[in-house]
């Protein structure tokens, strides 16, 4: 069974059994009209989704039970709240919700009717809307500071066959409330996977969302992540996207600043190897005055890999006193690696401070020589400099066990003893 047949089959299975059949049908008809995102669309010019052509699904592949011991190493801290999904379904026994229900309202997405999209930015989102099997619907009341981070683990377990899963989340955060969310997608098995996760966040006045997306999956894993964030006045959104292994990653982050005095920070680090493809697209829309956005992405590229950075900032006429900063820096370790970086600023207000910059190049020879001149081998000097470059992003991660976990992964990949 190929990808198109799989879509057909999944749709027929899910349409009558879970969620809102009406919404699913509408989304499917839109998907049929717009199709998969492709090179014809400006935002997908560099994004090659041909990996889907090689997908081979087995009708009889059954969902394997995942044991706790198989996911234990992926748990950032056993103390944190944890929601675990396995091959599209919520797994209560692997999850740890403790007394989280006392703070927040939590529903399974498949049992809720969501607000529908006014508009589908691309075919993957329409596909996600028509096929999502599960997800979380989190409602955080006003004045609620979640005492511990919530880690959401999406596990895919397969044998040799392909697995295609879709999740949809909706999180609404009340006034003066705060939550930290860690997202991890991980494949256990040898087959190809494609996972789409569409998450919609609504941030109430003076609320805070810290979102950590730690992407370190198998070499046959493919991921499409969509995050849409609507911020009310004085709210704070901090996004970390750390991508260090996978075959294909595309992140779309859309931020709407809908109230005054909002703060947004998008921080990313990616390290691409072999023929990996990682793509970070973002759009920050400053619709109201006196908001600040800060976007910093650092990338290291090796092998014949490709990375894309596209950061669009729109400052609407109303959005006076906007401050918007963007920077994307890349270190290329091989001649065959490709970086496509594009800042896009559309500014329609006059009293604003905006800056953007993109750099690409190899490691600074001067820096390398300085370290080597003190007796450090070239290999070690390179690792130290690359780690320093990555740490510029990871240092800002406030959850200590997560930061040390990520730094451990990185130092192994960057070969530091």
């Amino acid at each position: 069974m190929n990808f198109a047949q799989k879509i057909e089959k999944e749709f027929n299975l899910i349409i009558g059994s879970s969620g809102d059949p009406e919404a699913r049908s509408v989304a499917m008809s839109i998907f049929k009209k717009i199709g998969l995102p492709g090179k014809k669309i400006e935002e997908w010019k560099y994004t090659n989704i041909n990996f889907l052509n090689d997908f081979e699904f087995d009708d009889n592949e059954k969902i394997n039970k995942v044991l706790f011991s198989e996911i234990e190493h992926l748990i950032i801290s056993k103390d944190f709240y944890r929601m675990v999904f396995v091959n599209g379904q919520f797994d209560k026994s692997l999850s740890f919700l403790d007394n989280m229900d006392e703070h927040i309202k939590l529903y399974q997405a498949s049992q809720r009717t969501f607000h529908n999209y006014n508009h589908y930015p691309n075919g993957f989102i329409a596909l996600n809307e028509s096929l999502f099997s599960e997800g979380s619907f989190i409602d955080i009341p006003d004045n609620t500071i979640l005492d511990k981070p919530l880690q959401i683990l999406y596990i895919i377990k397969n044998s040799e066959n392909s697995v295609f899963t879709n999740y949809k989340n909706q999180v609404s955060i009340g006034k003066h409330s705060k939550i930290d969310v860690i997202e991890t997608v991980r494949t256990i098995g040898n087959g190809s996977t494609f996972t789409t996760i569409a998450s919609n966040f609504k941030l109430g006045e003076s609320s805070t969302l810290n979102y950590y997306n730690f992407q370190s999956d198998s070499s046959k894993a493919n991921y499409y992540g969509y995050r849409s964030i609507d911020q009310s006045a004085k709210s704070n959104f901090n996004d970390f996207t750390i991508s260090i292994a996978s075959n294909f990653i595309r992140n779309d982050v859309f931020v709407n600043l809908l109230g005054e005095h909002c703060e947004t920070s998008l921080s990313g680090f990616y390290y691409t190897l072999n023929d990996e493809f990682f793509d970070n697209h973002s759009l920050i829309k400053h619709a109201k005055p006196i908001c600040t956005s800060n976007e910093t992405y650092h990338g290291i590229l090796d092998g014949a890999s490709t990375a894309v950075f596209n950061g669009k900032i729109i400052v609407e006429p109303d959005a006076q006193k906007t401050q918007a900063y963007q920077s994307n820096r890349n270190i290329l370790l091989s001649d065959t690696a490709n970086i496509f970086t594009k800042p896009q600023l559309e500014i329609y207000a006059d009293d604003v401070k905006c800056s953007h910059g993109a750099t690409m190049g190899s490691l600074e020879k001067e820096h390398l020589f300085y370290l080597c001149s003190r007796g450090i081998t070239e290999k070690m000097a390179k690792s130290m400099l690359l780690m320093a470059f990555a740490n510029r992003i990871t240092d800002k991660i406030n959850i200590e066990p997560l930061r040390s976990n990520i730094e451990k992964w990185l130092s192994e990949k960057l070969e530091i003893e």
Binding site: Y370, L371, C372, S373, G375, I376, E378, M384, L385, A388
Partner: protein, 251 residues
């Protein structure tokens, strides 16, 4: 046995000859000063000795402890005991001074077959050496040279020298950018590092430094060669007469 023996050294950058037959011999325990006009090749000599990329040695030889120095990579030269205090130390963002020195000291110890230092001993060592140049220990946790003032960068170079205990230290204009007090502090630090098994080469434009760090020998590097060598009095003559008169002396 000479610690360093440079014979007929010729070196070029981008096909442009800079060192043109330089001879120099340095023994353990000695302090040598190298003076000479701007652009005469002093920093080039330091770069060639420490193995910086981009310099081609076209003729001559350099022996360090009786073995071919030029065959070694930059890090091997450092581990063999060569140290350069840079004229323009670079800023290395994101690498802390402490981590940098820890890696360097432990690499050198491994190279010499010594055990690596544990965290506690290492911090003690850093504090002790920082005190030598009156460097506040807050500098140790900062990124290497990042945001350091000119003088602080120079102090940091001497701090690193103290940490690494080289057998040959080359100080390239370590006095430039230092205020009067810092010059005294740094010079005192260097003097404390004078030792019978260590040679120091100070490259400078000013006699003033040599009042603090009194050299055993003074050399004039002019147009890529050592054209004149003498004792510390030579520096006074140069201070008075400049370098132009050397044009006539050379032949």
């Amino acid at each position: 046995m000479a610690l360093l023996k440079i014979s007929n050294l010729h070196a070029e950058i981008d096909g442009k000859p800079i060192l043109k037959g330089l001879d120099l011999m340095i023994n353990k325990g000695e302090v040598h000063a190298i003076m000479g006009p701007n652009g005469s090749g002093k920093s080039t000599l330091a770069a060639v000795l420490t193995g910086r990329e981009g310099y081609t040695v076209t003729d001559g030889s350099v022996e360090f402890n009786d073995s071919d120095l030029l065959a070694l990579s930059a890090d091997e030269r450092a581990k063999a005991g060569i140290f350069l205090a840079f004229q323009y130390p670079v800023e290395v963002p994101g690498v802390s001074n402490a981590n940098f020195m820890k890696a360097a000291v432990n690499e050198a110890r491994k190279y010499r077959g010594q055990e690596t230092l544990d965290a506690f001993d290492f911090i003690q060592l850093m504090k002790e050496k920082a005190a030598l140049v009156e460097m506040d220990s807050s500098f140790l946790s900062r990124s290497v040279n990042e945001g350091f003032s000119g003088g602080e960068k120079k102090k940091n170079e001497i701090f690193q020298m103290a940490m690494l205990e080289p057998s040959l230290a080359i100080l390239d204009e370590t006095d430039s950018g230092l205020d009067i007090d810092a010059l005294r502090i740094v010079s005192n630090g260097v003097n404390k590092l004078r030792a019978s098994d260590r040679a120091i080469v100070v490259i400078t434009h000013y006699q003033r430094l040599l009042d603090y760090i009194v050299p055993d020998f003074v050399h004039v590097l002019y147009k890529g060669k050592i054209v004149l060598s003498g004792t510390k009095e030579l520096a006074l003559i140069l201070e008075e007469k400049g370098y132009e008169w050397l044009e006539g002396e050379q032949s």
